[in-house]
Amino acid sequence: MKRLLLAALLPVIASIVGCNAFNIEADQPMACLTMPPQTFPVVAPSIPGAPGTFSGEIDLGISAVLPDFLVGGSPETHILNFQSLSVTLDGPPGASFVWLTGLEIVAQKGTTTPVLLVDYTPGSGTIGSTITANSLAPGQNLIAFLNNGGLAFSVSGTYDPRLFPSGATTWTGTITACFSAKVKKTFQEMIDGK
């Protein structure tokens, strides 16, 4: 009889002491954020023949738009990876990125070490009004940025002034950034509110 009772109690005992073994894991393979159109002022080259430049910063506000259980926590339990980016040029029909010679996206905010996410150089093919680039650091966990105030993209690039629309001093584009997120917590961590 004692053995039977012990056999019945074992799972209960295991459950109580096993809070570190029991866990919950959420895996969001793709979440894409499409920002409102962003305008980037361009700086014409000071030396004839040199490329022009542009730059700007976009605060993604990820913490406000993705569920907190996915992105609100420590880097030990939460992972946020940048996967890809696309930029669509806002402009008249036929407008294209033909003038674009380079685009760089760096994740940065506060004191967190910046991470280069995209270094885009147009290929030899036809360039349309949308460019897409995959992450240079798909395994880099960006959760630390959120813990330090948020994740912002620093956008910078170069353009060919001969191909850039004459008289224009800015260009406007819609940026879509895609991320994956993963969270794994033990029951003990959930009880402790981590």
Partner: protein
Amino acid sequence: MRLLPVLLAALIAAPSLAVAQTATPQAATPQVATPETGAPQDPAPPAPRREEPYPQFGLQLAIGAPDGAVLSFTYSPLYWLLLDAGFAYTLAPGFVLGLEFRPIDFFISPIIRGEYGYYFAGNTANQVKKWAGIPEAQWPLIGDASYNWFSGLVGVALGSRRGFTFALEGGIGALSLNVKGGTGTINNVVVTTGDYKVTSFMPVARLSFLYFF
């Protein structure tokens, strides 16, 4: 490592099974004295006892986590083996399939059970949004949700294998919540989420009432 509690429970229960199988009591044959002689005389050989067959079909009501409430039909081809299939309802309708061993035909018997359950998409997603404290603006990002699980349980059953039994079981399980993605506009940002999955390795528990007929 995760199977350790189940294996331990099975090992501990095993000797009891052996005892139950070997210790079948022999019926004592009483010596009867005749009134004339006072000498003991062998009675007439008893009529061979006809063993009632074990009932094979039963109806079971169970409540538990993550089972919810389950009403199932049970089939027992052998007295120690039970198969059940039932309709379940918690946040949504679903079904539960079970394979159960009750190795001892006694008032109290150990149970070893394996189970698979599936809940269709119903009200699950709405409850998840509320329980997880997700702001209403983000609700469009969470579509329909269904879940399924596998579990292994051990426990005890009290009652008669030929009638009513009550069982209490506990164990471990692997649950998978499958959530459809969605699209919503939050703070002027259009957010599109793909389908995602929440899995959990968790304790499970079950309380059941079974009636064989």
